[in-house]
Point group: D2
Chain length 346, copies 4
């Protein structure tokens, strides 16, 4: 059994992690830490756990947790996790960081987009970007995994096969992304007050969203060329789910079947990536509560563009589910252990 601790257990990603780890056959939850609710029982904060897990939430003590745990999941706002990471910790326990601190390889890019100084830049090289389908071999050996962002996971997996080869004009990529409101987290504020967000739709962070450099970094790595792209997130009045609609200009005339074959080959052994057949496109409900990425695409011959549509559950494949998948890979157990979930379509 893997002894697991979660730091930041009462945020939405943290809570989802607890849900997934609680039913994971190979995991014991040994610590749940929460800054806001230390001293309370989990079921007082999240009554869905009533009668299931009545563990007390504790204050963060990363050193003690490192002694008692085999893996620690950090689910904290950016900047806070880096402060806790040290050679000593990494020698004792595997770290999966659901935050942004170790995702960007370039310290300056991080500081430029996050507007804070990075306190542990010397771990940036070692950390592995935990997009499981693309970095599996590195993850197996990693001490420190940077779990990707939600928009990022959906965007990169939806576009990765397209930036290999010479299929598209790499400067033409536009990602129009839409997310359910759980992506904004549990911290209360006016824009996510029910009556301010229900029955409305908006764009936000246009040109400035922090997932942009993360998408560019990974797609550039896969393409072997520097990619700069447009990324625009929007808020959908619903709880869960991300759908991205990506546009790119085709280098030459092709058809859906050819592109789908490239995608199917690229992801041929991937259990969590589901390619939709031609003329079929994902909807967020088809992946709800699951670890799947659903991808479909269409070619518009009038404009010679390809339109790729990808969908994930932002809290599962976009956060807690991929974190569990990373843990499974790091500990050499079946990659879908604890993640064998049929999406709840209703």
């Amino acid at each position: 059994m893997i002894n697991a601790g979660i730091i930041g257990a009462t945020g939405y990603a943290g809570q989802e992690l607890i849900r997934l780890l609680y039913t994971h056959p190979d995991v014991n939850i040994v610590y749940l830490s929460s800054h806001s609710y230390a001293g309370k029982k989990l079921s007082e904060v999240y009554p869905n756990f009533t009668g299931l897990l009545d563990m007390e939430l504790v204050s963060m003590d990363a050193k003690k947790m490192a002694d008692d745990c085999d893996v620690i999941f950090f689910a904290l706002p950016h900047g806070l996790t880096a402060d806790q990471i040290s050679e000593d910790i990494l020698n004792k326990v595997k770290i999966i960081d659901l935050g942004a601190d170790f995702r960007l390889k370039d310290k300056e890019v991080y500081e430029n987009w996050y507007k804070v100084e990075h306190s542990r830049p010397h771990f940036l090289e070692e950390s592995v970007y935990g997009l499981c389908e693309l970095n599996r071999e590195k993850i197996k050996k990693a001490r420190l995994v940077a779990n990707p962002g939600c928009y990022t996971t959906c965007s990169i997996t939806s576009l990765a096969p397209l930036v290999t080869g010479n299929l598209i004009d790499l400067s033409s990529i536009i990602i129009d992304a839409k997310s359910g409101i759980s992506g904004a987290g549990r911290s209360i504020n006016l824009p996510t007050h029910f009556t301010e967000s229900n029955e409305s739709f908006k764009a936000y962070g246009v040109g400035t969203h922090r997932h942009t450099p993360e998408i560019e970094q990974e797609l550039s790595r896969i393409a072997g060329k520097n990619i700069v792209l447009s990324f625009t997130p929007h808020l959908i009045p619903m709880n869960r789910g991300i759908l991205i609609t990506a546009y790119a200009s085709l280098s030459e005339k092709t058809n859906s079947e050819k592109l789908l074959k490239i995608y199917n080959d690229f992801y041929k052994n991937e259990k969590f990536i589901r390619m939709f057949p031609a003329e079929n496109l994902p909807e967020t409900r088809f992946v709800r509560n699951s670890n799947f990425v659903d991808i479909g695409l269409k070619i518009d011959p009038r404009t010679n563009r390809v339109i790729v549509v990808g969908a994930i559950d932002n809290l599962i494949k976009g956060a807690a589910g991929q974190a569990v998948q990373n843990m499974n890979i790091m500990f050499g157990i079946s990659e879908d252990s604890g993640l064998d979930i049929v999406p709840t379509v209703i």
Copy 2:
């Protein structure tokens, strides 16, 4: 392994059953029948099953299914299941009927509320009302289980402890019930068209809803006295969940603690019934996607009434989950096998 067939597989209850049985460790799904979609693959109708279960949907052939299955789940509109039941079928296979045909013991009551003749009244006595927590011993030996209605399950479990003893005036019971729209099923019609039901709230079936006699039958049986009550259902603009608010006049002054103790004793070994502590009340999100019934109560000393609030997921404990629980009991396996689900609070 239990070989299971589902008739009416593409309605919402049917689809939920497939979801639950697909991950059930002791079950093989061997038949899925669908009147509307026979010949199609399941994943064409429900793309959430893409890559998971690509079984072809077939036309109903109860006799053939009886030969190949250990259990058949019927999830059909009322009237249609009864026609399929025969001594021959029951000798071969266990039947769990998610419809209404065998819930009411009195043929006349059935025909009065459902406005159709009952085609197999001779099985009404044998059939067991499958509210697991109340009829477990009979279910163990049953050939034919009538899986309770959604409102019914929530109402009966929320009130059962209260109608025992001499706690309340049995003529004073009022159940004000509210359900998410999945309770209306998958058949399209104007009232459940998105723009006709979203952002609105209404009562329906006032004084005439068919779950009323079912609730009265079971509570009367438990009370040992004839109970007539008011039941008013409402539609909530959301997908899943039922919450009932029940009112009854107390026979004598008491307090929440005493009543909660009676409830806790009544349900002391029940894994799927969760009593909320004093001053805490259920919300539908705390049971979402799970097989739990959450119950809380409050006494209003001003009116000397008790107000009981119960919540379930209408598609799980109110339909497919309880059907699986019944199967587990009938086959002598762990009652929570395949139902070990942490509610998805978001």
Copy 3:
């Protein structure tokens, strides 16, 4: 033209008032005060007013406003308005208080339910309870009108005809009330965070909601007898609308037609009360954005109870609309001036 000022202009009731008064043919808006946003322009806080009303929000100065206004609307949390009321103010300007300070005639009842001392109890007798349809004559002459609560308006109008005569057992009244989330106001908190309230349903304030004594006070006055009743509010995951389902035991056998006739007679000249014909019941969408109260009822002969269903828009007839209706009455202009709105059913 009536010069109007609003204190508490940026809460939801305040904003709705501005909307209604802006298009009111007989009103000039001369002051908008906001504690939180003084110094900002209205359209910065509520961009729906962009290009329409770019008035600057100011700090509250009731004395100055009394000099410049013909009417002041207070839309403040309870306790704050009372402090501003004085003989001097009332001699200069008509006051319509959308808060709770002057609704309850009995100081002790107020202090008991609101848990604060009343700072101006000497105005309780003079203040007129502004449920327009029931107190029109007093409102005409009032200096200080206490605009009723949202649940209260819906509950009282739905039950008033029933408590006259000897139609029901007055001790049997139960009001099960449901409200859209705008009723909780604009102050952010966890329960009204989008992802904590969307797709869920709950009861709250069971036995303790402050609208209870207000309903009891007015129904008792109408009945001429002391009424104590059960009132249970619930939150619906939608923006606007209240629906109440009220239960009462009939004194003798009757039928829907007779009761509907009593209601129709009671409200025969009321433009804003719409009685639904037998077998038809209100839905909140049928009154959305309008000042109507829709009422329907049904008799359940099995239990000899009447079930009354009432619906309003909580922000209009339940707050700002009724406030405008009160103003119209106080100033002797057409009662529906500025309120001639067809409900937006979609």
Copy 4:
């Protein structure tokens, strides 16, 4: 007074038209025709009109209506309106067609996208494309106005100033559009069944949506050059509102202020177009129930693209409101008569 008739009165656009015309100071509604509900009263189909307008719905008789009306609004599925139009009709009555039959100037383009033959192509040249802000002078003199589509109105107004001059690469335009579900109309079908569309998000009609050639036709006309663009619609789980996010590559470096100035100049006398200041972007709630188009934009210097965000209420400015605006222009009355609505932000 203008005598108005509506054909297709019980669809969503028709119902909105009735709402707007009912309170329009210069209009008498004299006919409401409905194929599905002829013989019923309006308030039986739409109870929001209870007590307001109890007119009986009749079968379509365009000739008779032409005799009695000054204007007829057609709100029918494509193909049906064209059949009704004749020189005789046009000589008697002004026609505003909310459908698609007379929007596209080129018969072949129409037949290519709509897959039906056009029965009255000889009126295509005469008909005026009723985007009021762009074609006002022609509308004044028109006998037959083709009211634009919902996506179209939002897309064209959001991009018109950008395709004038040499600001962008005209081949680079991508419009990612999102609509509330009322845009799908009142006809029931599975995709708009509540539980199939709530809490989910999807793209549809990718590369094939019929509003595409309409947008291209008008933007090409404004640009004076042939424009081919990408248009992708999506469904948002909410009732009302369209938001489009449009992307285009800038011809040369510029900044938001310069572009906003161009927009402000372009729309300087337009009451219903509201430009948002730099760094502010529209949300659909800011225009809800109103006839406004809200537009904001941002420049992304990293990609040298401009991102324009536009929002409308699809049923008002995207259908019934613009139809009324067209009527106002055609009859020489104040353009905002009957449209003086403050958006209902909640």
